[in-house]
Amino acid sequence: MIVVNDVSKWFGDVVAVSDVSFRVGPGVTALLGPNGAGKSTMLRLLCGLTTPSQGTVRVLGADPHGDPALYRRVGLVPQQEAVFGSLSGRQFVRLAAHLQGLAQPDAAAVASLHVVELDPDDGRPMSTYSKGMRQRAKVAQALVHDPEVLMLDEPLEGLDPRQRLHLIELFRRLGSDGRCVVVSSHVLDEVERFGSRVLVMAQGRLAAEGDFHEIRALMDDRPNRLRVRTDHPRELAAALLGADSVVAVRLQDDALFVDTDDVGSFRRAVAPAAVRAGARLLELVPLDDDLESVFRYLVGRG
């Protein structure tokens, strides 16, 4: 649904995006990267809010910058907080519905406001809204015309835990029923709940693409680290070193930290080793196969 070929973008002599290519299909894809990695620029390129200096961007087969008709099928939750302060939430969403050419703009607006749990009859202007309410109004205006492609730039900012859960569930559902949802967010444990497909950018380049578990598996230069608690730490440590998948074991405040370069065989080896050592396996916890670790290895310093 989205095709990006060798796209570069520079502002003056600053390179925001350099030579990036990827495709995005239906479902939820997370666009990740440190601040200044070019994420926002990439999202704006996908929406046609700016043009690539080089390369091509196609959304649903059309050029997002030159073809306003495409916007009938695209929804965006922008990063900036500014909204039309003098309008109420309902007027703001109804305006969007109207400009999208919907038959019943007000009915669509009311429906969209219910989805984000905003009261359509609350006539107060948005200048009096809290950050969380303004954010939900922005989401409502992006959903009101039932778009096929949805771009979300930090959509959960300012929302409380319950609201975050509600919207995560909503975006996941939108992704699962065939829409293409691109989410940019810094809160990785929430991104994991959207799905596992990620695009990681760093210094304007694409650092990795795909299911982050598989990306982690590709990192064979980074042994998997697990924490093990047991009633006989030294014995279990010795037994584990016997297993050839184990590269290192460290004993620290009554827990074992085990590094393995073949996590699959280690999983099968740990129970037998425990039996041999007569040790009880109280806790076995992988420490670095979550998205946060994958991100840090790809982008962080060490």
Binding site: E157, L159, R296, V299
Partner: protein, 300 residues
């Protein structure tokens, strides 16, 4: 002696009731302040700072009553607000020194402590650059340094990781943990990111509808019934039937097995069953409720 003590605190803004009888204490160390939007968190912070007066009940902060000894209380509090707006053309070091002076430090001491505070939050020579030229991450650190420079007894942080990317977020959370432990400054962290609160806070206060619905040490709050959560690399059903045969009661939740009863008995059974079936073990962990479960249960 608790840092902050509130008894049946009431506060109304015109027609809406922001706090309807909140009773709580904030103990030493790092305390998480949680609540839905509009549950009264911001109002509570304002009351602790003595910016507004409660309509009922009483509040004691650092042993003083903020309604009468506002300035003396605020002198000992460092407050880092949620927005990261700062004067763009002022150098970070000048800004932090100025705020230290405004909190009562003499000029010479304020200059030295400003420099220390900026170094502690991890800003090197860029602390002499105008704040406007700094990244979101650096600006959040400047705000934290400004709240630390005058050696507060209590640090109020409102969503300190807002706008930070994962790597910056990680180092900010480490810094907050160090402030609560090494620096010996008590911290109240108001945030919506429960996973961060779990990583940094010793205890939490959960507000809902203007009242405290749950409070206490995180570990006690999260302690669910005894049991083990196990994820395996193979046939879940086979494992389940074998464990039931060994006399354990358990439920299967997708790829997870949730085993009730004593952890040590369950652990041994799981180990032996894995060896017997030649199945790999992905994860074995004590069953604990997440802060999210606690929050959703309390705030509903």
């Amino acid at each position: 002696m608790s840092v902050v003590r509130g008894t049946v605190v009431m506060k109304r803004w015109g027609a809406t009731t922001a706090l309807s009888g909140a009773t709580f204490t904030i103990e030493r160390g790092v305390t998480g302040l949680l609540g839905a939007n509009g549950a009264g968190k911001t109002t509570l912070l304002g009351l602790v700072l003595g910016l507004t007066k409660p309509d009922g009940g009483s509040l004691e902060v650092l042993g003083l009553d903020p309604t009468t000894a506002g300035p003396r209380v605020r002198e000992r509090i460092g407050y880092a607000p949620e927005h990261d707006a700062l004067p763009p053309d002022v150098k970070a070091h000048d800004l932090v020194r100025h705020l230290a002076e405004v909190h009562g430090l003499p000029r010479r001491e304020a200059t030295a402590r400003a420099s220390d505070a900026l170094w502690h939050v991890g800003l090197g020579e860029e602390r002499f650059r105008p704040v406007g030229t700094m990244s979101t991450g650096q600006r959040q650190r400047v705000k934290l340094a400004a709240a630390l420079a005058h050696d507060p007894a209590l640090l109020l942080l409102d969503e300190p990781t807002n706008g930070l990317d994962p790597v910056q977020r990680e180092s900010m959370l480490d810094l907050i943990r160090r402030i609560g432990s090494e620096f010996g400054i008590d911290v109240v962290l108001s945030s919506h990111l429960l996973e961060e609160i779990e990583r940094v806070c010793d205890d939490v206060v959960i507000l809902s509808g203007g009242r405290v619905v749950a409070a206490g040490a995180l570990d006690t709050l999260r302690r669910g019934e005894a049991g083990l959560v196990v994820e395996i690399d193979g046939d879940v059903e086979a494992m389940a039937t074998r464990l039931r045969a060994a006399g354990l009661t358990l439920t299967v939740d997708g790829a997870r097995l949730v085993i009730d009863g004593a952890e040590d008995v369950a652990a041994d059974a799981v180990r032996d069953a894995a060896v017997a079936l030649g199945i790999g073990l992905r994860r074995v962990q004590r069953r604990m409720a997440t802060l999210e479960d606690v929050f959703l249960a309390a705030a509903s």
